[in-house]
């Protein structure tokens, strides 16, 4: 066995070397740290968080936590509506959500899956108060003390016997619902005894108190609780055994219990509000889409959907996205190839002309590059439209009759022409910089050895220019796959790309989850193609200069 080598200070050489290397690496890292942090914060984090939306689905359980829980046991295929307990949970969830104005947001979310949920939620949110009034009014009539916020607070508040679990749960619920922290001082602690005896009421009152204190900054001790608390009390008093209870408000509660308050039948009340609640469809939608993370957006992005019975294709007349993905990739390839065909000779000229002419030509290549994208696209509109320059010229020289002018815009042809023109500099520049490095003497050598012009080009020159083609192709292809504005303006119906749908879902339909899923798929497609390119051509063969 060899003796271990030691450094001057006696430590093993290997370790000493590793330490020096590590120090060097850290210093290098320190130098690039500002840039790294900048890129992380402004680029990676926003993109990652946007892409994360494609699976995120907390909104359902944040808005309707109890309903989702109660609905878990419901069998969607039994042909029955859920039990009264589910409707009851929905009432209390929806009431809080409507106070916080979050129910309509959920309605919008679920409307992506089931047409009509949006207005169902909006209208139900408005009609909820009526259910509560049915019990609140008789209760207040029975004893004026119930009108007083202090009565409620006096009964349910405690100083020594707090149900901490309940309070924490409601804080979490309100925080999740509103998206803002609910940890401020509440000036209320739910009584554990009552929490056992009157569970719904204590829960509803605590939720109200937490919401009032943390979201509205008001003191729950002096304010009236909302109608849902009265409803909860009526529901509790049906079955509660208060005989052993002697805490604050015992007489009031006993009086209310004997008064036999009207208790709303929740299933009926919701069915009266909107008949959709009495059908199974909306419940199936809620149940199917209640998980915290969902594959639903990705399924939608490939023309499928999540149903209670598993994954299914969208109906034929709604399938469009896969087709658009295919079209985007196919047309991007076409654009890339037309860029190669047009760009190669120009790059060759640039590389082989004398400096003066080459510079002039280079400016001509760059000139459109400095012009606004919109201007260039609109210019193509003027050129290509039926009453446009090209058609007018063709009609004038008599190649085309006035009646049958060529249709060159608002179709795939228009998109390919305009985008090829716009992306051409991205192809020419890398090709040019690679061709500049190919010594002209190689071609001369090949010819002097007897090669024809073609052989000299094809066997000697072309292989050396491939890295430039590769770099240009990757640039052009990746840029065109995400292009949006040019296809929108000149693409008509058959020349639009998947990015036009992404833009639609970001800014018009607000279905950011679907937009994120589409974007993720696009990103994955680019990465796969990049990988394939690396396997076939080799990424080492790419040169930008």
């Amino acid at each position: 066995m060899a003796e271990m080598m030691l450094a001057a200070d006696g430590t093993p050489l290997k370790r000493s070397l590793a330490r020096a290397l590590r120090r060097q690496k850290l210093r290098a890292l320190g130098l690039i740290a500002p840039l790294l942090i900048f890129v992380l914060i402004t680029f990676i984090v926003p993109i990652a968080s946007m892409l994360f939306r494609s699976v995120e689905n907390q909104i359902v359980e944040n808005t309707l936590p109890m309903t989702v829980e109660a609905l878990a046991d419901w069998d969607p295929n039994a042909g029955k509506t859920p039990s009264e307990a589910v409707y009851e949970a929905l009432y209390f969830d929806m009431f809080l959500a409507a106070e916080a104005k979050r129910h309509t947001r959920l309605g919008t979310r679920l409307n992506y899956e089931q047409t009509g949920v949006s207005s169902l939620f909006r209208q139900s949110g408005r009609a909820l108060d009526d259910i509560g009034k049915e019990t609140q009014k008789p209760l207040e009539k029975l004893n004026n003390a119930w009108k007083d916020g202090e009565t409620w607070h006096g009964i349910f508040n405690t100083t020594d016997n707090t149900d901490t679990a309940l309070l924490d749960l409601q804080r979490k619920r309100v925080a999740a619902l509103t998206g803002s922290p609910a940890s401020d001082e509440v000036n209320f602690a739910p009584d554990a005894t009552l929490s056992n005896l009157l569970p719904r009421t204590t829960r509803a009152y605590t939720a109200w108190a937490v919401y009032t204190a943390t979201q509205q900054g008001r003191d729950p001790a002096t304010r009236d609780p909302w109608e849902a608390v009265a409803t909860a009390l009526a529901l509790d008093l049906r079955t509660a055994d208060l005989s052993a209870y002697s805490g604050p408000g015992a007489d009031l509660l006993a009086e209310a219990q004997t008064a036999d308050l009207p208790v709303p039948a929740m299933a009926t009340a919701f069915a009266d509000m909107d008949e959709d609640w009495a059908g199974a469809t909306v419940w199936k939608t809620i149940q199917t889409h209640s998980s915290t993370y969902t594959s639903g957006y990705f399924l939608n992005a490939v023309d499928a959907q999540k149903t209670p019975d598993g994954v299914a294709w969208q109906p034929d007349d709604k399938q469009i996205l896969l087709k658009l993905f295919g079209r985007t990739i196919w047309m991007s390839l076409l654009i890339t190839f037309s860029c190669i065909a047009l760009g190669y000779p120009i790059a060759w000229l640039l590389a082989n002309l004398p400096m003066r002419q080459a510079n002039l030509l280079l400016i001509l290549v760059l000139l459109p590059f400095w012009t606004s994208l919109l201007v260039r696209t609109s210019a193509w509109k003027v050129m290509l439209q039926q009453q446009g320059v090209i058609n007018d010229v063709l009609v004038w020289i008599g190649l085309v009759g006035d009646g049958d002018r060529l249709i060159m815009i608002n179709n795939q042809f228009g998109t390919i022409v305009a985008m090829t023109h716009i992306l051409l500099p991205f192809m020419i520049l890398p090709m040019y910089s690679v061709m500049q490095t190919i010594p002209p003497s190689y071609l001369r050598a090949a010819k002097s050895l007897g090669a024809t012009n073609w052989t000299a080009f094809w066997r000697v020159y072309f292989p050396q220019s491939v890295p430039g083609i590769g770099a240009g192709s990757i640039l052009v292809f990746i840029l065109s796959i995400g292009y949006y504005i040019t296809p929108e303006i000149v693409g008509g119906t058959k020349g639009v790309f998947i990015s036009n749908r992404i833009a639609y879902h970001i800014s018009s339909s607000l279905n950011w989850g679907l937009a994120a899923a589409l974007g993720t798929i696009l990103l994955a497609a680019v990465l796969v193609l990049y990988w394939a390119y690396d396997k076939i051509v080799g990424i080492d063969n790419v040169k930008l200069g």
Binding site: R105, N111, G116, Q319, Q385, E488, T493, S507, S509, L510
Partner: protein
């Protein structure tokens, strides 16, 4: 009872006068969001400039982002920094912003000025208050314009001329979305006006509308920006096309293009202000103060001097005068003018809020076929 009312009224008055003088509690600059172009300058002329004149030291900047207002406001809200004070949006977007909790709820009687004759703001705006968060400014319509020199001897008088490629050969331009197009298609396929939305709510009805549109699919250029149709008409690319009535007015009266208006089955829509949620109290107070001024009877009537959109207040209509530069009477160019409004639709907000995603998917799939 009477005493309570008096007390309440006095309190309200004190509060109102309190805010009127509490200028120091209002922010001194505002960011107004609008659509740019002629519409934004009509707002600048009719009420932003007068407001700034009245309130020395206050400044306003414009952001021309109304087209993406909903998405941007949502992003701002999530980032926790809302930089807009007053945002001009179409009613459908206001409803969505309200649904998402991104716009403040407005109490018309408290937050908006009453009409000069004392009619409350709620009554003056009437049915146009389509959302709790929305303060309407103008009524505009999406309707058709046609090339007077390309339609032959008989100018079209019915919206169904769009579907009649025999009598009116040539291309037409329609917006690249289902809204309005589906309604017109059904209307011209024999569905009674009152039943249009009932029919459109069914799968068969949607198919019927698409089938009707399919009869002219090869003759349609689909637009996505309001300026497209006037341009296509001016170039002679299309014989007729739909767009906003103000755009057509500008093409006809200001640019003197040979274009005629086809008011039949025009679809009314509303545009107005919302105040975003999440503003600081000072900025919110300034926004409310501005809105109250900018949507009073005279201001809305003034706006009609600069653009041919109808004021949203009933009390403003009689005050509509002449165009500020052209000097022509504006009333006959208003979509709400009785001669123009013989057959109209009102954009069905509730219906499209529900069916937009569904029908749009079908429409786009149909387009791509």
């Amino acid at each position: 009872m009477k005493l309570t009312k008096t007390l309440l009224a006095t309190t309200a008055l004190t509060l109102a006068s309190g805010t009127a003088f509490a200028d120091g509690h209002m922010a001194s600059d505002m960011t107004l969001v609008s659509w740019g172009g002629a519409y934004q300058s009509s707002q600048q002329n009719a009420y932003v400039a007068p407001y700034l004149e009245m309130n020395e030291g206050v400044s306003a900047v414009w952001d021309e982002s109304s087209a993406e207002a909903v998405a941007k406001l949502r992003a701002m809200n999530e980032a926790g920094s809302v930089t807009w004070d007053v945002v001009d949006v179409v009613a459908a977007d206001a409803i969505r912003l309200c649904d998402e909790g991104l716009a403040l709820e407005i109490d018309p009687d408290e937050d908006l000025a009453a009409a000069p004759d004392g009619t409350s703001a709620a009554d003056d705006f009437g049915d146009l208050l389509v959302s709790d968060c929305f303060i309407p400014q103008i009524v505009y319509s999406t309707t058709f314009g046609y090339r007077t020199d390309l339609v032959g001897d008989t100018a079209p008088t019915s919206v169904c001329a769009v579907f009649d490629t025999e009598a009116y050969p040539g291309k037409r331009s329609l917006e690249k979305r289902p809204i309005n197009n589906m309604e017109w298609a059904l209307l011209c396929d024999g569905v009674a006006k009152d039943n249009v939305y009932d029919v459109l709510a069914t799968e068969e009805g949607q198919q019927q509308a698409l089938d009707k549109l399919a009869t002219i699919k090869d003759d349609v250029i689909w637009w996505s920006a309001g300026a497209d149709t006037p341009q296509l008409l001016a170039d002679g690319e299309v014989v007729m096309g739909s767009t906003y009535n103000g755009r057509l007015f500008a093409a006809i009266e200001e640019q003197k293009q040979p274009i005629g208006m086809l008011w039949d089955a025009q679809v009314f829509d509303l545009d107005g202000w919302i105040i975003p949620t999440g503003l600081s109290p000072e900025r919110e107070a300034r926004a409310r103060d501005f809105i109250k001024f900018a949507t009073d009877t005279q201001r809305l009537a003034d706006q009609a001097k600069y653009i041919s959109y109808g004021p949203a207040r009933a009390s403003s209509a009689p005050l509509v005068g002449q165009h500020a530069e052209l000097g022509i009477d504006m009333a006959p160019h208003m979509p709400t003018d009785p001669n123009n409004a013989q057959n109209t639709f009102l954009y069905n907000y509730e219906f499209w809020a529900d069916y937009r995603d569904d029908i749009d998917a079908k429409f786009q799939a149909w387009l791509a076929q």
